[in-house]
């Protein structure tokens, strides 16, 4: 029987990036989302690290007298082989992140340390829901804060009331942070030969009559902009997680660099749940951080001139235990880091109210205590990059967050 093997053809390279067509049409008239003063055209990328990043391993408080003892065999050091790259006399960056270190020295990257969302339990999934929904607690998964921020953007004259700009969701499913009423477009580096346009249009027509939700989703997924891309977009056989991260970033950067490209993008990287054999300067976490570092570099080169007006925020649902566990890893914790990168970042700074690592100073005697609310960081970026008003930030983007003031001066 030959008929058994034909159900789904092998995924081949489509070499096309997908852009939502309805929104594409609108973009021709899209006013520059100008920051009032200088008329620049800003970009924002939110990178979610799922699984809980060990902030104390990423940006290590080497100057804290308790750090080396707590992080034990996997602690970073200021000297010796694979030494951390010192960002200031106190904090050292993981040696797997030379690109971020370079950006930091060029004042295009900053670190916010001892940061956390408002979530204080230790479930990944609830933690991610809080991080992405922007609500103070779990259980609200209908829309994400970045989508609601889009809705809060000032609308341009020609498209008033019709459509704000679309945001780019990278990956086969839309991350919660971008789900919601504002339009999004999707792109995923996995590629197939495409269905014919006529077939697609007929299907949209059927959905419009029978299933409006599917009609809207398919319309967004469909009407496409094929953008040239070279062979370098083809996933390479044997490419590991790090290479995949670079690949995803390269594609997203290419889309966002275009004049009519999405101003806002969100993507998620998995695999940060380092319960066992986390590794120190080399090892499992080092590989992941290397991939993240490469992804940031891809954004920098792929965005070209736009990099000057770009902010990338890297955030995770919570941190990990300050003390390593019995298997040279770390269990679920609380405080961690957020990373900012991009030409628009007022960088070269460690932004932290360092709580210290003495047992009495740890959250529940086990985790880095959070001293900064992650929402303050996000609010500051949204305010400075796009002019989202403080009222909208406190009411709709991050509901019930009035006491959490936007952090000022994150964007240069």
């Amino acid at each position: 029987m030959d008929c058994s093997e034909n159900l789904v053809m092998q995924a081949t390279s489509r070499r096309a990036l997908l852009l939502g067509g309805a929104s594409f049409a609108a973009w021709a008239y899209l006013p520059k989302l100008a920051r009032a003063a200088d008329g620049s055209d800003p970009r924002l990328v939110v990178v979610i690290l799922r699984g809980a990043l060990d902030g104390l391993a990423t940006v290590a408080p080497i100057g804290d007298p308790d750090y080396a003892g707590l992080h034990g065999a996997i602690a970073l050091r200021a000297d010796g082989p694979n030494a951390a790259m010192m960002l200031d006399p106190f904090f050292g960056l993981h040696p797997a992140m030379p690109e971020f270190a370079r950006m930091y020295r060029a004042k295009q990257a900053a670190v916010v340390h001892a940061v956390a969302t408002s979530y204080r339990d230790r479930s990944h999934f609830d933690g991610q829901d809080v991080l992405e929904s922007g609500f103070p607690g779990p259980g609200r998964v209908q829309s994400g804060w970045l989508n609601r921020a889009l809705e809060a953007l000032p609308r341009g004259d020609r498209i008033a009331g019709e459509r704000a700009m679309s945001a780019l969701a990278v990956g086969p499913t839309t991350p919660l942070v971008l789900r919601g009423a504002a339009p999004t477009v999707g792109w995923s580096p996995v590629a197939l030969p495409q269905a014919a346009d006529d077939t697609a249009m007929r299907l949209v027509d059927l959905y419009q009559h029978r299933d409006p939700a599917l009609a809207s989703a398919l319309t967004q997924g469909l009407q496409l902009e094929k953008q040239a891309q070279g062979d370098d977009m083809k996933p390479k056989p044997g490419a590991g997680g790090a290479a995949a991260m670079r690949l995803v970033a390269r594609g997203a950067a290419k889309l966002m660099a275009a004049d009519d490209g999405p101003r806002i993008g969100a993507l998620a990287f998995d695999g940060w749940d380092t319960h066992a054999n986390e590794g120190g300067p080399v090892g499992r976490l080092a590989q992941l951080l290397g991939g993240l570092d490469g992804a940031l570099a891809e954004f920098e080169s792929g965005l070209g001139d736009r990099w000057r007006h770009t902010v990338i925020v890297v955030a995770t649902e919570f941190g990990r235990t300050a003390r390593i566990n019995g298997t040279e890893g770390t269990d679920h914790g609380t405080g961690t880091v957020a990373l900012l990168a991009g030409g628009a970042v007022k960088g070269g700074r460690m932004i932290t109210d360092w709580p210290g690592l003495k047992t009495a100073n740890l959250y529940q005697a086990r985790d880095l205590a959070p001293t900064t609310d992650l929402r303050a960081v996000m609010k500051g970026v949204l305010h400075d990059q796009f002019g989202v008003g403080e009222r909208a930030l406190a009411d709709t983007v991050f509901p019930d967050s009035t006491p959490v003031k936007p952090m000022k001066g994150l964007v240069a």
């Binding site: 093997e5 034909n6 159900l7 789904v8 053809m9 092998q10 995924a11 799922r50 082989p81 694979n82 230790r122 999934f125 609830d126 779990p138 998964v141 969701a169 990956g171 086969p172 499913t173 839309t174 792109w187 995923s188 996995v190 197939l192 269905a195 014919a196 077939t199 697609a200 007929r202 299907l203 027509d205 059927l206 959905y207 029978r210 299933d211 939700a213 989703a217 398919l218 997924g221 056989p237 044997g238 490419a239 590991g240 997680g241 998995d270 749940d273 319960h275 066992a276 054999n277 080399v282 499992r284 590989q287 991939g291 566990n325 019995g326 298997t327 040279e328 890893g329 269990d331 679920h332």
Partner: protein, 522 residues
């Protein structure tokens, strides 16, 4: 008996894997007795078991993978010796690590082929799988007679054989309700093949041994089988967790890893907000130290079998959810599992998730409450639970708002087009593309189970591309109007019927049929 077409659609799609093509007559049978059609499989004793010649037990598979890894290690060692004698001063990496591999040791063609075929092999945590693959490079020089096409990677071969057995069962099942239950429970208690070589090797045997025997049995038995299965112990690191005050913990200066304990409470039983605290998690982590599997040398027992290692077990009395558990070796942990399996939070969590999967993203509260009650009163009897779901009115009245998962979609397509798979590759690729790689969810919470996750713009567009491709290859063999009769008969909407009838080609018609709301929603 009156034909109820809408109910037939519900029976086939909400509860099953969709109508089969050919002369199976699924739609007619479902229409004449919808509930009976769904429940037929529930009464078959052992109906969920999957016994296929050639599929091996977990310890047998362990032995194969241990042998394979051992061979590789030997070959690597031999190659290293050969290399250092050939080169007087091997290049030393600046950081003092192992010298880099020399370029003249080419990668094995097989490893490349596998990596190219299966992107899941490339996941970030696949260290073990890579370790198992790469050194195969040395084999050509060790065994130059080996024909280059022979796939030597036992791990990938096993994974594909297990996948094939599961897919074939899904495609040929009568209604498929029992297989849908298997998929549900397997996702509830998921592991990920991406964890490493052992997880990939055991992904299928885990489902066959820990899930299937209990799908129509008791939740408590499934829970125990899952948490004691080597695949789960490996996936959530429990084989590494040592009691800090156990003999092994003291000798090796290692200790607890609370990963498995947390997910037992959060994901497998009580659910978030189910009334447990961090102290309960840590306590349970202590109690299940020593739950592990025997390694290659079999010091603790048959390699690859579950063992209780008293040397690694944290001694003492522990408190979980307010109850004291006296030191009792393996039985201490089993007692905790037995108690939390019967905890009211577990009943609520399971009833909610079960209803959400089959009925609606926002499950009808009255149905959830009833199933919670059924779960509790039946002592966690999962066949009784499934029966209660099918007997409810809500499950038949709720509109079809759920999206088929990628797995359901591909299997339903295969059933309709009578493609009993002989090679799992096309399905596995399709699942990868659509974001549901088989037995490889991104986290221990499994694949998402809401429409929002699967009806994304990109996901829908990819389904269309796949449908168009399937149709371009197979449509010539079918009359799409006849297929529509098999799928939905007079439950098809006039718009869908008209869209298919007016399509410009059979190919287009079939692609549209596979993408129609009647085929995508359930």
């Amino acid at each position: 008996m009156a034909r109820d077409s809408q109910a037939a659609l519900t029976a086939l799609n909400r509860f099953g894997f969709g109508a089969r093509g050919g002369a199976a007559g699924d739609f007619m049978n479902a229409a004449s007795d919808p509930r009976g059609f769904v429940k037929a499989g529930l009464s078959r004793p052992n109906g969920a078991l999957l016994e296929v010649p050639g599929l091996l037990s977990t310890p047998e598979l362990a032995r194969q993978v241990f042998d394979y890894q051992f061979e590789i290690q030997q070959a690597r060692e031999a190659a290293r010796v050969a290399q250092s004698t050939a080169s007087e001063s091997p290049p030393q990496a600046p950081d003092g690590k192992q010298p880099p591999q020399r370029r003249n040791l080419s990668l094995p063609s097989v490893a490349k082929e596998i990596a190219a075929k299966d992107p899941t092999m490339q996941a970030q945590t696949a260290d073990n799988a890579n370790a198992a693959m790469t050194p195969g490079a040395m084999q050509p020089s060790v065994n130059p007679q080996k024909p280059p096409v022979e796939p030597p990677n036992i791990i990938q071969k096993t994974f594909r054989a297990e996948a094939l057995a599961r897919l074939q069962r899904s495609v040929v099942a009568d209604c498929g309700f029992v297989e849908r239950l298997v998929v549900f429970w397997s996702n509830h208690f998921c592991i990920s093949a991406n964890k490493g070589a052992l997880a990939r090797m055991w992904a299928g045997s885990f489902e066959r041994e820990a899930i299937r025997p209990h799908v129509l049995g008791r939740f408590g038995d499934m829970l125990k089988a899952v948490e004691q299965h080597p695949a789960m112990l490996f996936f959530l690191d429990n084989q590494q967790s040592l009691g800090p005050d156990s003999r092994a913990g003291i000798n090796r200066h290692r200790g607890l890893n609370e990963n498995l304990a947390r997910e037992i409470m959060e994901l497998h039983t009580l659910g978030v907000g189910g009334g447990y605290t961090q102290d309960d998690v840590t306590s349970l982590a202590r109690i299940i130290t020593g739950w592990t599997f025997a390694g290659r040398q079999g010091r603790l027992g048959t390699p690859g079998s579950f063992v209780f290692n008293a040397n690694a077990h944290e001694p003492g009395t522990h408190l979980v959810l307010g109850k004291t558990y006296l030191p009792n070796g393996l039985a201490q942990g089993e007692a905790v599992l037995s108690d939390i399996a019967r905890h009211p939070s577990t009943a609520k969590f399971i009833a909610t998730k079960f209803t959400r999967h089959f009925v609606a993203d926002d499950p009808p509260p009255a149905l959830v409450a009833r199933l919670q009650d059924v779960f509790t009163k039946s002592g966690g009897d999962l066949a009784v639970l499934a029966t209660a779901l099918v007997d409810s009115n809500e499950a038949w009245q709720a509109p079809p708002t759920k999206m088929r998962s990628p797995y359901e979609f591909l299997v339903a397509s295969g059933r309709l087009l009578a493609r009993n798979p002989e090679d799992p590759g096309r399905y596995l690729n399709g699942l990868n593309v659509l974001g549901q790689p088989l037995w490889s969810p991104a986290g221990p919470n499994g694949f998402p189970d809401t429409s929002a996750a699967w009806a994304s713009p990109e996901g829908l567009k990819l389904r269309l591309d796949i449908s168009a491709q399937v149709a371009s290859q197979l449509a010539d063999r079918f009359d799409p109007r006849e297929l529509l009769e098999l799928v939905a008969a007079d439950a098809a909407s006039p718009e869908t019927r008209r869209t298919i009838e007016r399509a410009e080609s059979r190919q287009q018609a079939l692609a549209l049929l596979l993408m129609s709301p009647e085929f995508q929603r359930r």
